[in-house]
Symmetry: C2
Subunit: 245 residues, 2 copies
Amino acid sequence: MLSHKILPNISIDCVIFGFDSEKLNVLLVERELLDEKGNVIIKDYTLTGYHILEDEDLNNSAYNILKNLTGLDNIYLEQFYTFGSIDRIDEGKDRLWQQHLNLGFSERIISVGYYSLINNDKVAVSSKDRKIQWFPIDSIPLLDMAFDHKQIFYKALDALQNKMKLEPIGFELLPDKFTLTQLQKLFESLSGLPIEKRNFRKKIAKLPYIVPLKEKQKGVSHKPAQLFLFSREVYEKTRKEKSFF
Amino acid sequence: MLSHKILPNISIDCVIFGFDSEKLNVLLVERELLDEKGNVIIKDYTLTGYHILEDEDLNNSAYNILKNLTGLDNIYLEQFYTFGSIDRIDEGKDRLWQQHLNLGFSERIISVGYYSLINNDKVAVSSKDRKIQWFPIDSIPLLDMAFDHKQIFYKALDALQNKMKLEPIGFELLPDKFTLTQLQKLFESLSGLPIEKRNFRKKIAKLPYIVPLKEKQKGVSHKPAQLFLFSREVYEKTRKEKSFF
DNA sequence: GCAAAAGTGTTACCGGTACACCCATGC
DNA sequence: GCATGGGTGTACCGGTAACACTTTTGC
């Protein structure tokens, strides 16, 4: 049985990435504050976060936040950075928001950032009482976000892009069975760069851990594409360390 | 003026890497506890760490720990992971140590890990009242370390190795002017893999940010080597993003 | 003149890149 | 039969890997 006592100075923020076969998205929660007359004082978006319990593993805690939000088990989750500036909280709206909630968390908080990768199809976002929505990552620059969450988002994106250079990651964003075009679009979304189709396919064909299935796409009004599977087992067995430069 | 009140649940641990022209080392602090009769009860090694003040930036705090220890400014410092398991503290010797110090920190602590890269020559380790010593990284597996510091060390090494695959890092470990042999030994130490000399030099020759100087090594009893400089400016100007796979 | 490390050239292979056309399906 | 995305081959180039000998200096 876990204690319900929380650690006062630590929180977790999760950057949840999703992919809808076209573009990369991030899941955000609306934050809205009304005054007595019902006028909107604050309306912006936050990442999903929570405090941690005093006898709860940090990684478990992040995992639980996600499970709670999405209802999914076995979510891909990666810790990427810890944010500890003294000016993480904006003296305007963030302070106002905290006074409103009256949670007593207004003192210094260090936040541990995690990013997670979720296949959009699998998330029937169970919004509960909060307004939750996917945003294309292109739309983030113009979006108004709470606290230092925009900065956290960018750092997560950067970490994800770097991680991709080191390991084949991101298959969690696709359906279990995917086409090469979906895979290509995913990589293009993640990197922000276009990829040449033929060369892309030749490269993929050499990777033993991207396994062609006998199955084909169905119900599309064009030549149906072959489906593929990512095999983590094969990857782990055949992975090679790249050298420097 | 900074407050001297510390945040109760957060600490910083620094993994300080050094290079002595032959091998990679890490700086550790001896931890020793004697009983009333002077018998050694605990003797092992710790990373350098400290708690942070309630109005102190996380990154600044790490920076100050290093400045304090080494006397150096402008140290290369990178945050790599935050450790928050509930079993970070060993119930045997770590608990004993904490009782001895009687610091009241025995509750749950989350620790933010930083690694730093220092040229061994530049560190006249000012040991003050603590025993501080460089250890070759090969010797770590057999070393007895406090808390989860061995695990933190391995994670730092892993992070450093990954970082090197993405950017030319590690020049901070060398003298400002270095020979290609020193550079090669550094890369070999960091990766743990041997490198073929001629191919290595051809590769380096193509990198615009490794700048040959007109100067040569002096006072060696063999053909003196040419000296080189790492130019971060040139690197930043000419850096190219690698693609995936 | 000898020990010790510096420095260099060639070849073979592989992977990356650039590029344009035919194919299977639904409607 | 046409629109839509699926799927492929070839030529060139640059990078990587494997390999052994000559050069410069201090002593």
